[in-house]
Symmetry: C2
Subunit: 407 residues, 2 copies
């Protein structure tokens, strides 16, 4: 053939998975959502696009923003510039202010959406990736009990992920170091915290849960921090992998109390897989109300890519969500096979119907290739029995489509 | 206060919902996914972005494409231009070619993602919206049985949507009109079909299922079309809302056989809410293989917006996914309330814990405002019983957290 073929190739930084790997990614999203909803968090989605004056309000990341242009924009078309969101916090702030009168506070929401960062192409970093965020926003004040609750939720969320490696929760409270800076008459405490966060760790890492209670507060701020941290750690007492770590400060200026990062036990250098904390005021740029909150974010795509890179997902062969493949032994049995598949589906069993009467061996091989765990044979003759074969064991037994269930 | 407030406002064409409306949208996505997976369709996600030479290969829509630019791109940065996808078919073709060796054929996939179209701002049309697509792709050939299966799946999908109005499936086969054009020696049959699709309907609409079988084929193409259509309609015999409608042609040139559109009974002028058909070759631009397929798409956001506009969702008040709110009667009962909530969650019951010991009336009002159907009271005294109040009826009864379930 002489037609022109465009070789399709991946765009650097925009990950895309085969169906079997996507099935696991989807199971992660389901698991996270399941935990978030089990605590009563509602879902929101914000548009991919925000007005550029909103999205670029934070100077530090503006060079990473993707701006949209219509391919055939005409000179007469007046429209404000807009860009793709680079996180879910800026849109949450805008959303909360804009929908303020429709929301019930404390407003608890989960959000799992993609974000985009226009990293330089050679950097080998993700330019599109999922983040999984939870935040609780109050008006004027917000109970400290949420800090421990959100850490618990994220702890349980990570634990619920298939193939998730072991991790440890590192927790601190910014008021302790801010109070220390005050006591030392350091004026630009945020700059100190940023510096600490960038790698000059304090050397007082991982003080264990007992000894840090002995810290003597030098002023009210430190004392408030110690009290809050005690309360939060107390609320996490049923987890064995939580450690107080005063070197945790988080780079972003807006955190004002609890700060927390979670690290992989086998690879702490990978950086935090979940992080967040308490902030005093979410949306001061958009609304004349004080909206304190506490929020956490899992870098979902980044963590998933790590787990994939360790080889854990190599056995993933399931390219169909089906529990059962119903075979069509011959043309005469096509209607019965179809009816059997419908019966199984009506009972909540995910069922593929093979698409044509073909050799049974070929149909079984198809189930094998797609990782479908059971193959179903409608009766070959009138009055015969249905049979189902478990692919793992090879066992085959007589069953009824009205009664059988996946074991 | 003198700080500058940016008034946040929606960007035209980018819909965003309140939590209670989003909850219904999410239930739609869940319902569709549930049906798609019940037939064994796997999920894929493609990046939001495609290389511009791939996405703009179809001249007809190129003016609607959003192109990405990095805000602070430097002159030295060499990168190919890219744009946001405007449908899920172009990315599917690229994906299928690129991942060809990893896929099991027939490749059955579902995909519910957003697409973007750079409509002019004044048009009042969606610029970002969900599409819900299913396609089956074969190599060299693909059983005609899939045509009826996919119509069935989409029929069942729409039927499964909460608040979905009644609809009718209109179905035809392009070969009938193509054959007719051949018989009439009309050379540019696709142009005729496009013209018909644009509104000059044939006048042979909605011939009923019986009478069209009487059409006399004028050549082999017409005969093939009639046979295929008979077979597909035969496979849909258990639905009462399917009608053969030879005026259905679909505008896009690539359809070659079955074509189908679904219309709302109360508002056919709204246009099709689900459409699709059979095509001969999905990915000829990217791979030297013949990949015939059949696929359907629901314009999810557009349909959802319609249903919302009819007022059907006005009673939606559920802003929490929680089944139960556990109250904290007083500080002493906080730990017990927390433990009770954990017990309920461990049994799969979605449970909010109120965030502070406050007046019971205030806590019940919170459940009311969020549409949480049950309020749970831990025992006020040692040895007392747990009680649960059904918000709808006001009934309150003694229960055990280890046994109670949502009725």
């Amino acid at each position: 053939m002489s037609r022109k073929i465009i070789k399709p190739s991946p765009i650097s930084g925009f990950p895309e998975h085969s169906p079997s790997i996507r099935a696991i990614e989807l199971s992660w999203i389901d698991a996270l959502r399941g935990i978030f909803e089990s605590y009563g968090f509602c879902n929101i989605e914000t548009p991919s696009v925000e007005a550029l004056d909103i999205i670029a309000a934070k100077g530090e990341v503006d060079k990473e923003i993707y701006v949209l242009e219509r391919l055939h924009k005409q000179d007469g078309d007046k429209e404000a510039r807009s860009g793709l969101r680079f996180d879910q916090t800026v849109p949450l702030a805008r959303y909360t202010a804009q929908h303020f009168s429709e929301l019930v506070f404390p407003f608890k929401r989960w959000q799992i959406q993609k974000v985009w960062r226009g990293e330089r192409p050679q950097a080998g970093r993700f330019r599109e990736f999922y983040q999984a965020d939870i935040d609780v926003i109050g008006v004027d004040n917000l109970s400290i009990s949420f800090d421990a609750e959100l850490v618990s939720i994220m702890h349980n969320s990570l634990t619920s992920l298939p193939f998730m490696p072991k991790f440890t929760v590192h927790i601190s409270n910014r008021k302790i170091l801010i109070g220390l800076c005050e006591a030392l008459e350091i004026k630009d405490a945020p700059a100190v915290l940023r510096t600490l966060d960038k790698g000059q760790k304090t050397g007082i890492q991982q003080i264990d849960d007992l000894s840090w209670y002995g810290i003597e507060p030098l002023n009210d701020t430190m004392e408030a921090g110690i009290n809050e941290l005690s309360s939060v750690v107390g609320g996490l007492s049923n987890f064995s992998n939580v450690s107080v770590d005063l070197s945790i400060v988080r780079g972003l200026d807006y955190y004002t109390g609890t700060v927390c990062e979670m690290f992989l036990d086998d690879n702490p250098e990978f950086g935090s897989v979940c992080s967040g904390g308490r902030y005093d005021d979410l949306a001061s740029s958009y609304i004349n109300k004080k909206l304190p909150g506490v929020g956490f974010s899992i870098g979902l795509s980044r963590l998933f890519d790590y787990v994939k890179s360790t080889g854990s997902l190599e056995d993933a062969k399931r390219t169909s969500p089906a529990d059962v493949l119903v075979v069509i032994p011959n043309k005469d049995l096509e209607a019965l096979a179809n009816e059997t598949a419908d019966t199984l589906r009506s009972r909540g069993i995910k069922t593929e119907l093979f698409h044509a009467p073909q050799k049974i061996g070929k149909q079984i091989a198809y189930a094998q290739k797609k990782g479908i765990p059971y193959v179903w044979f409608p009766p070959f003759e009138d009055g015969g029995a249905h049979e189902v074969k478990a692919m793992k064991t090879g066992n085959q037994s007589e069953v009824s489509p009205d009664e059988w269930s996946v074991t």
